[in-house]
């Protein structure tokens, strides 16, 4: 394993360990996504629930807003106790901090979706393989872009406001690709679109994280 990979593993392991001990982020995400699905179930007229697009939209909205909740907390420890300074002083590549955070966010999202997708199937309709593939690809995009923006927002006093303002516009392609892959007869091009989004934004986030954490 390269030194870079070892740094990423050590940092991601730390994030998972902190979450295992505090249990603050994943349970909150689970509660939120289940609540959102239940509320949508009762809020929408029964006639709308027969529409594939409307139903797929509910799943993607639930995932996106739940992800936002997780992202808001992703740099919590670093932000509250100034820990980003200690990490930035270490001789590791700064992008390793971003990649580790993106990996831990991705883990939290996958755990949330392990509950949310069966719950969605229970309340609405079964989920296709294409939708599951789209969810995994979307998670990569959410985690990579979200971790970068979360670090940007962490430096601001108005972080709770700033993160959604920065993240939601950039997440529109994820919704477009995700809903498209969920309802289209040929979801391949939407999955390709999500893959392209992931690749572009992962490279951009990887390259720019250094400038986000240094003055």
């Amino acid at each position: 394993m390269t030194a870079y990979a070892r740094d990423v593993v050590a940092l991601a392991r730390k994030d998972l360990l902190v979450e295992l001990r505090t249990r603050e982020t994943v349970p909150a995400m689970l509660l939120f996504v289940l609540s959102a699905l239940v509320v949508f179930h009762f809020a929408l007229p029964a006639s709308t629930q027969g529409s594939d697009i409307a139903v797929a939209g509910l799943l993607w909205m639930s995932i996106l807003f739940t992800a936002l909740l997780g992202l808001t907390r992703s740099f919590f420890a670093e932000r509250e106790h100034g820990l980003l300074e200690a990490l930035v002083l270490a001789p590791c590549e700064r992008s390793a901090i971003w990649l580790a955070k993106a990996l831990s966010v991705m883990c939290f999202l996958l755990v949330m979706e392990l509950i949310a997708i069966p719950a969605f199937a229970l309340f609405y309709e079964s989920v296709s393989g294409a939708t599951v593939a789209a969810v995994v690809l979307a998670d990569i995009g959410i985690a990579t872009v979200g971790s970068l923006l979360s670090a940007v927002a962490a430096a601001s006093r108005t972080r709770e406001l700033l993160l959604p303002l920065l993240f939601l516009p950039l997440a529109i392609p994820i919704i477009v690709g995700g809903v498209g892959a969920s309802v289209a007869d040929a979801p391949g091009r939407y999955l390709g679109f999500l893959g392209l989004y992931d690749a572009i934004f992962a490279i951009m986030s990887w390259a720019s994280f250094e400038y986000v954490v240094t003055e």
């Binding site: 030194a3 070892r6 740094d7 050590a10 940092l11 730390k14 360990l17 902190v18 001990r21 505090t22 420890a77 106790h81 100034g82 820990l83 300074e85 200690a86 990490l87 930035v88 002083l89 270490a90 001789p91 590791c92 240094t214 003055e215």
Partner: protein, 194 residues
């Protein structure tokens, strides 16, 4: 090792440092004093590379991984134990004999018995001791300590006195302190900020 010319730092409209000239040779001991808000912490953060100067030149001839920094916060994860925190930093600093080094520091700073306790259960003084362990873990060439005596009890203060005397002989140090009398004799460069 440290050279500053006309160094200035502003936060928005507020000017914290202005026109500062400074030379600290390798092995020197810089003692920074001054009242609250005079820019002591800002200067140490500039030296650590955590801030960029607003004006002037600053050169610190030490690679990033060779700096040990203690700030106002202990800079450790509260939900991890002392050993887990030092293990993490030890990996990031690529310390080969981590376990031995961590064990030696924890023992020296009186944290050995509490090494498997979460830092959230530590007193402020214990957290400060752990912060010192973290900063010294990789045996840095330049050590920056911002109010290192804060929160330490009598025993901790005496321990740090001894440590600083030892470290000052072999490393370059910059210390910002409200209690300069404790370490004044060790200082080779004194800077009073107003």
């Amino acid at each position: 090792m440290i050279r500053a010319r006309g160094l200035a730092k502003r936060y928005g409209e507020k000017e914290v440092l202005r026109g500062l000239d400074l030379d600290v040779p390798i092995g020197g001991f810089l003692l920074v004093t001054g009242k609250n808000g005079s820019g002591k912490s800002t200067l140490l953060r500039l030296l650590a590379g955590l801030l960029a100067p607003s004006e002037g030149e600053l050169s610190v001839d030490v690679p990033r991984g060779e700096i040990g920094y203690v700030g106002h916060e202990p800079l450790v994860y509260r939900e991890l134990t002392a050993v887990e925190n030092l293990e993490l930093y030890g990996r990031l600093y690529r310390i080969s004999e981590r376990k031995e080094r961590i064990g030696m520091l924890l023992e020296r700073y009186g944290l050995w018995d509490a090494r498997h306790q979460r830092v959230s259960t530590y007193s402020r003084g214990m957290q400060q001791r752990l912060a010192l362990c973290r900063a010294l873990l990789h045996d840095p060439a330049l050590i920056l300590l911002d109010e290192p005596f804060s929160a330490l009890d009598g025993e901790g203060v005496q321990l740090l006195d001894r440590e600083l005397s030892e470290i000052a002989r072999v490393r370059t140090l910059a210390v910002a302190s409200h209690q300069p009398e404790r370490i004044e004799a060790l200082a080779t460069v004194r800077l009073a900020l107003s």
